[in-house]
């Protein structure tokens, strides 16, 4: 078998931001029909590399040869026209536009008067999406779709154009298992059609499931490349982190010990009968000090809403939350925080960090009133707290004054954790605390959660990563359609049992398709 044609050859690519060398002399080669894993810690430079390839940023040095010709794209549009399609990590689609318009933006079918042909557009959009297991009314605004379905639209969009290379920057971070399967089958189809795929993910299992080759970045440099099959998981992690194999092996891949002991039998948090119209229907959860309670369920089952309702970010139509014996005034985040309930939101970028403010200001944001007198901030006390947490959580920032928006995802997450830990909470609600962060950071966050629980903190852990949920929680409450459908304790917390409870009586597939066809 002759080696497939080289589609892309990148040589010596470098890019610096003020204070950071995001990418340093990186090479990358792609062949037709190759699925290439691009991995590295948070901030290793993966997204930067992708943005350089697609004309979002201009390289400081290096050249890109695409299909035998040197190229330099000025805009993503040029890259797309030339045949490089991308599903970006953060920016995706346009929520207010209809699904079909999102799918066809820029290449809408037109009738003979040059006007858009909506009938055809809707027909084709429906057909295309069906191939991705998404059945929706394509005239509805995109934002009425679940995240998974939105991601599928983005995927369909990227693949639909005449692409030679499809780049996916963490496409699965908000997909559920069934959707991941669909995604993989799409990737395999692309491979069979001779299209090269660049696949970025922090989930190692996925890499082994679909990728042929791998490039490992560390601190902006390429530290390894080759066939993925030649490297086992542990070696992969050790190259990525730059640590000894033995060290990694001894520490294991997850940091959860899984056995916490509730120090008290009385719950520190008791949420009963939480009801939010259309979203939650009488959800009850209780957490004892020192306990990690997992919240399981499919996407859209109401986990985020439960956490938000407890923290006062969603107004309740009925139900009550009691913290350490005292009832909370509903619908007020400040009240919940004062009572000792802290929420680490799922959507770090738009609901968590304040991107334009510094690390220091972000960490001290919630605790500020306690560090102030008559509204005046005591800078010395802020400094001491900020420094403590930067050290304790090993936050990587050029200085406490660096803008949080410039940090990598994992470090942003740590800054948020620091913000809440500084408050000395009684209950910590963690919504997808390790989504989109690298194995190293993930392990650190997990270890931290363990330690906090050991210190007597009550923790609610929401995670779509079943492994994490199982290993991390003492007890898992399972939600479906905004209501509790089961609870697993102790030995019951196994992957098999959890899967079955989450799916409920109806198999997952039907549930989603049924939902997708309504409207």
């Amino acid at each position: 078998m002759a080696p497939p044609a080289e589609v892309l050859a990148v040589r010596g690519l470098s890019k610096a931001f003020p204070g950071v060398r995001a990418l340093d002399d990186v090479d990358l080669t792609l062949h037709a029909g190759e699925v290439h894993a691009l991995i590295g810690e948070n901030g290793a430079g993966k997204s930067t590399l992708i943005k350089l390839l697609t004309g979002v940023y201009r390289p400081d040095a290096g050249d890109i040869v695409f299909q035998g010709r040197p190229v330099s794209f000025a805009t993503p549009l040029e890259a797309q026209k030339a045949g490089i399609s991308t599903i970006y990590q953060e920016v995706n689609l346009i929520p207010l536009l209809s699904v079909a318009r999102n799918l066809f933006l820029g290449r809408e079918p037109r009738n003979r008067f040059g006007l858009l042909d909506f009938a055809r557009m809707h027909r084709e959009a429906e057909e295309t999406l069906r191939g991705y297991g998404v059945r929706v009314d394509v005239r509805r605004p995109l934002r009425s779709l679940g995240v998974g379905a939105q991601q599928m639209v983005a995927l369909a969009r990227a693949v639909a154009s005449e692409a030679r290379i499809v780049i996916m920057d963490e496409p699965t971070s908000s997909l559920e298992p069934r959707e991941v399967e669909t995604l993989f089958s799409v990737i395999r189809r692309l491979r069979d059609e001779g299209i090269a795929v660049v696949y970025v993910s922090h989930r190692l299992d996925e890499l082994y499931a679909v990728c042929d080759t791998v490039t490992v970045l560390r601190d902006g440099r390429r530290v390894h490349h080759g066939r993925l099959a030649d490297l086992d998981r542990l070696s992969l992690v050790s190259t990525m982190l730059g640590r000894e194999l033995g060290e990694v092996r001894s520490e294991g891949l997850t940091k959860f010990t899984g056995d916490h002991h509730a120090t008290d039998t009385r719950p520190v948090l008791e949420a009963t009968d939480l009801t939010v119209p259309h979203q939650l229907h009488g959800v009850s959860v209780s957490i004892r000090p020192g306990e990690v309670v997992g919240l399981g369920g499919l996407l859209g089952s109401g986990r985020t809403e439960t956490a938000k309702a407890i923290s006062g970010a969603l107004p309740l139509s009925s139900g009550r939350v009691v913290v350490a014996g005292a009832p909370l005034r509903g619908g007020s985040t400040p009240a919940a925080i004062r009572a000792g309930v802290s929420l680490l939101p799922e959507d770090r970028k738009s609901e968590g960090i304040v991107p334009g403010l510094s690390v220091r200001e972000n960490i001290s944001l919630a605790v500020l009133p306690r560090l102030s007198r008559f509204g005046l901030v005591s800078e010395a006390r802020v400094d001491s707290i900020v420094n403590t947490f930067i050290e304790r959580l090993r936050i990587k920032a050029s200085s406490p004054q660096q803008k949080v928006g410039e940090l990598s995802g994992g470090n942003q997450q740590k800054v948020l954790l620091a913000r809440w830990l500084a408050m000395n909470p009684k209950v910590l609600l963690l919504d997808e605390p390790t989504r989109g962060i690298d194995v190293g950071a993930k392990a650190e966050v997990q270890k931290l959660v363990d330690e906090l629980a050991a210190d007597g903190l009550g923790v609610l852990l929401i995670s779509s990563d079943l492994e994490e949920l199982i290993e991390g929680s003492d007890r898992v409450v399972v939600l479906k359609d905004g209501a509790v459908v089961g609870e697993l304790t102790g030995d019951e917390v196994t992957e098999d049992k959890l899967m079955r409870t989450i799916a409920g009586d109806t198999p997952a597939r039907d549930a989603v398709e049924e939902a997708a066809t309504d409207g």
Partner: protein
């Protein structure tokens, strides 16, 4: 090293850009001062500087409040109307003495600020439309209260307008103190940080448990109160209450000062020193054109050019 040599050129350019971005307004002010000293007769005199400072003081005071509002990603179009309202109310209640009159003025201004803040923070109306409604209605109210210009002969008010301490007019003193106070608030207080966080990312601020609504309402109230202070001072200086024309287009002057001073309209950052400099820049420009007796068309075109130039220099650098 070759590498280093290669890099110096773009680096210098980048640095120059950065410098311009940060200090452009001040450079502009300095430039106008130098140019005027050279070409404008009698410019270099204490009297002249005093005039410029006294004229710009009300603009600065309004712009301080505007800077806070813009820091929360808002805008306040009602400031000019609040100035007029302050003028009306001052005239109506001056008979009871200056202090009582000022208290009533503060009440009215706080009322407008509350209405703005409530529309923005509680109802969720876009600031530009919410404050537009109060801009129209506020001036109407000012005229309902006092339908026409009225001369005021109150010695206390007169001394507020033209008196001084150690040769420094009260107006300048008040503007300076307020500027320091606001700058201090932005930098050193919980309120200031919360304001910036809200302007930068409102959902994040909300989930971090910040009192978002309260901060927003307070910001609009502060803006209205500062506008009222400016209104009273302008009235004191004029020795007359003129609700028809006082504060006309003040909202635009204030916004211009804030933006030219390097505070982005997208919120999350507030530059008080820059705001003061921005106001001074526009004042000097207008003074230059008037002193050289250039026609109004020139004044407007020159202002347009300076605004664009200043904002262009201070713009966040685009695509890298």
């Amino acid at each position: 090293m070759a590498e280093a040599a290669l890099k110096t050129v773009p680096l210098d350019k980048a640095r120059a850009l950065q410098w311009l971005q940060r200090y452009g307004v001040y450079a502009g002010v300095a430039l106008l001062l130098v140019v005027n000293i050279v070409i404008t007769p009698h410019f270099l005199s204490a009297e002249n500087f005093r005039t410029q400072a006294v004229q710009v003081a009300p603009v600065i005071i309004v712009a301080l409040g505007m800077a806070l509002v813009i820091g929360t990603e808002g805008v306040d179009l009602s400031v000019g109307a609040v100035m007029a309202l302050a003028a009306s109310v001052t005239a109506l209640y001056l008979g009871y003495g200056l202090l009582p009159a000022l208290l009533v003025v503060a009440l009215f201004a706080a009322g407008v600020g509350l209405a703005n803040g409530a529309l923005v923070a509680l109802v969720g109306v876009q600031p530009i439309v919410a404050t537009l409604a109060l801009m129209v209605g506020g001036r109407g109210l000012a005229l309902v209260l006092l339908p026409q210009l009225k001369d005021l002969r109150n010695p206390q008010l007169a001394s507020l307008g033209s008196g001084d301490v150690l040769g420094i007019p009260y107006l300048i003193l008040i503007a300076a103190v307020l500027a320091l106070l606001v700058a201090f608030t932005v930098r050193r207080t919980t309120f200031g940080r919360q304001l910036l966080a809200i302007g930068d990312s409102r959902p994040a601020a909300q989930l971090a448990g910040l009192p978002v609504r309260r901060v927003l309402i307070v910001v609009y109230v502060v803006s209205a109160l500062l506008a009222a202070v400016a209104g009273v001072l302008a009235t004191a200086r004029l020795q007359a209450s003129d609700p028809t024309s006082l504060g006309n287009l003040m909202e635009l002057s204030a916004i211009t000062a804030v933006v030219v001073g390097g505070t982005p309209l997208t919120g999350g950052r507030v530059n008080i020193a820059g705001t003061v400099a921005g106001a001074v820049l526009i004042q000097l420009l207008t003074a230059t054109l008037i002193k050289h007796d250039l026609p109004p068309s020139w004044t407007q075109i020159a202002q347009a050019v300076v605004i664009v130039a200043a904002v262009y220099a201070a713009r966040g650098r685009g695509k890298r």
